[in-house]
Amino acid sequence: ARQHVFLLPECLKDASKKMTSGLMFVKLVRPCSGEGALYLFNMCLPQLFEIKVFKEKHHSWFINQSVQSGGLLHFATPMDPLFLLLHYLIKADKEGKFQPLDQVVVDDMFPNCILLLKLPELEKLLRHVTEEKEIGKKKYYKYSKEKTLKWLGKKVNQTVAALKTNNINVGARVQSAAFFPGHQISSDKEEDYIRYAHGLISDYISKELSDDLSKY
Amino acid sequence: LLPCEVRVNRPAPVARFFTPAI
């Protein structure tokens, strides 16, 4: 049987013990490309994680008394579900009207997107990117570009701060594969940080939104 | 994590043949 090696946040350790289906791997959309990607749902909280994989040629694993080819290393990192919800809100926006969330977050390519509706504090989250209306105890939402750009602007600033504290080199492209984050190249200008942060965030939003954000 | 690609997934007597050196 194939085996996989995962680096998971500590908090997930007992998730799989609490509930058999505590941790679920699901295929959901990748907003930047519209294709599918693997995500991890921690059903206990619940919480969404994205899965990145470290892939390099000529690697394999010894796992206990077995060998596993490929040597892939998977990482699960918490991800803001709003990036995925945004993908569906923008898609639904073409109809130009307020809609209940369970009519917006539908996707026959990735039916598990309905798991997003189980996430806590959705209403609070949605306020960052939508206008909402309440009719008879039911909430209706409409994508707001203006609010979204403001929200993404905050994301960029948070990312710039994180890049600085983590000494990420944002200047000229690192030539050697073995880069040394510690060697902070002081010449990195604010502009470089913002451009780099914009680029990173753009991995989680559509091309159009990335261009709008760039102008913004 | 090995610096080579063993192109198979199978049981292997790792403990008998492989002692990780620090």
Binding site: E50, K52, K55, D203 | R7, R16, F17
Partner: protein, 299 residues
């Protein structure tokens, strides 16, 4: 012979030597070099030197260290013990080259073939005797490779010593035959007491002479091949016999090639920027690219 060091770590090489007889530091000495276990696919190869004063060569001959190839294992052991007893004029030193050292030298990225390894080992042992104060004036060596080049190399390395490299030197010079007995006794003992670093379960030590054409050895090799790890370190992986079994029975393992010109698969960077954006596979942000990370799409 005290093989404790070898039994502790049989992955490299280990050097043993007798005490240096006092007379060998005073009188001009003749030294013989020979090896044992050059051919086998199993176990160590042992290089040995044996030396004694020129004035005592007759006594050495009297020990009947005839051509060691004609002697049985027990006769060799008895003769070696005799040399030790009369050790007041005979000295020896050994260099035990483990199968792992032989294999890794021959299979390394920079090839270090068996002849070079042999020559360097012989030179190392002669130097070792000199460093111990033995007054070496003549050296006789059984040839490895072309006698002329070997002779020239050794003569260059030891200009003040008279060097003779000859094929079948162990049949011509008693001091080479004595070295050959030391080497064979040492190799027999090392093989008999081999400590398998692998904790093998159904290990049988019925591997015969270890020579590639020995049927027992062939059966043993086939029985002990492991598809992922190959063989126990007792086996010389660089031997044709071992390699052909691995090619048939073991899994293929790919190592990173030496950096060739243009790394295959990385195409020219411009290939990503052709006109229609759709062709550009969505490259992850450089943060991820620089770390070899990409989004997982399947498990």
């Amino acid at each position: 012979m005290d093989f404790r060091e070898l039994e502790r770590d049989n992955m490299g090489r280990c050097r043993l030597n007798s005490p240096v007889p006092a007379v060998c530091r005073k009188e001009p000495c003749v030294l013989g070099v020979d090896e044992a276990g050059r051919g086998p696919v199993l176990g160590p190869m042992v290089y040995a030197i044996c030396y004694c004063p020129l004035s005592r060569l007759a006594d050495l001959e009297a020990l009947k260290v005839a051509d060691s190839k004609t002697l049985s294992e027990s006769e060799r052991d008895r003769l070696f013990a005799k040399m030790e007893e009369d050790g007041d004029f005979v000295g020896w030193a050994l260099d035990v080259l483990s199968p792992n050292l032989i294999s890794t030298s021959m299979l390394g990225r920079v090839k270090y073939n068996l002849n070079s390894l042999s020559h360097d080992t012989a030179v190392g042992l002669v130097q070792h005797a000199l460093d111990q104060g033995v007054k070496v004036v003549q050296v006789f060596v059984d040839t490895v490779g072309l006698p002329e080049t070997y002779q020239e190399r050794l003569q260059q390395r030891f200009p003040s010593i008279e060097v003779t490299v000859k094929a079948k030197a162990d049949a011509l010079y008693p001091v080479v035959s004595a070295a050959s007995i030391c080497a064979k006794v040492a190799r027999d003992q090392a093989v008999k007491n081999w400590q398998f670093v692998e904790k093998l379960q159904d290990l049988d030590t019925n591997y015969g002479s270890g020579y590639p054409n020995d049927p027992k050895t062939k059966v043993w090799l086939r029985k002990h091949v492991e598809p992922v790890f190959g063989f126990p370190q007792f086996v010389r992986f660089s031997w044709r016999t071992a390699q052909s079994i691995l090619e048939k029975e073991a899994e293929s393992i790919l190592w990173e090639d030496l950096p060739t010109g243009d790394q295959e698969g990385l195409g020219r960077i411009t290939s990503y920027f052709n006109e229609s954006p759709r062709n550009c596979p969505h490259l992850p942000h450089r943060y991820f690219q620089e770390r070899g990370l990409e989004s997982a799409t399947t498990l």
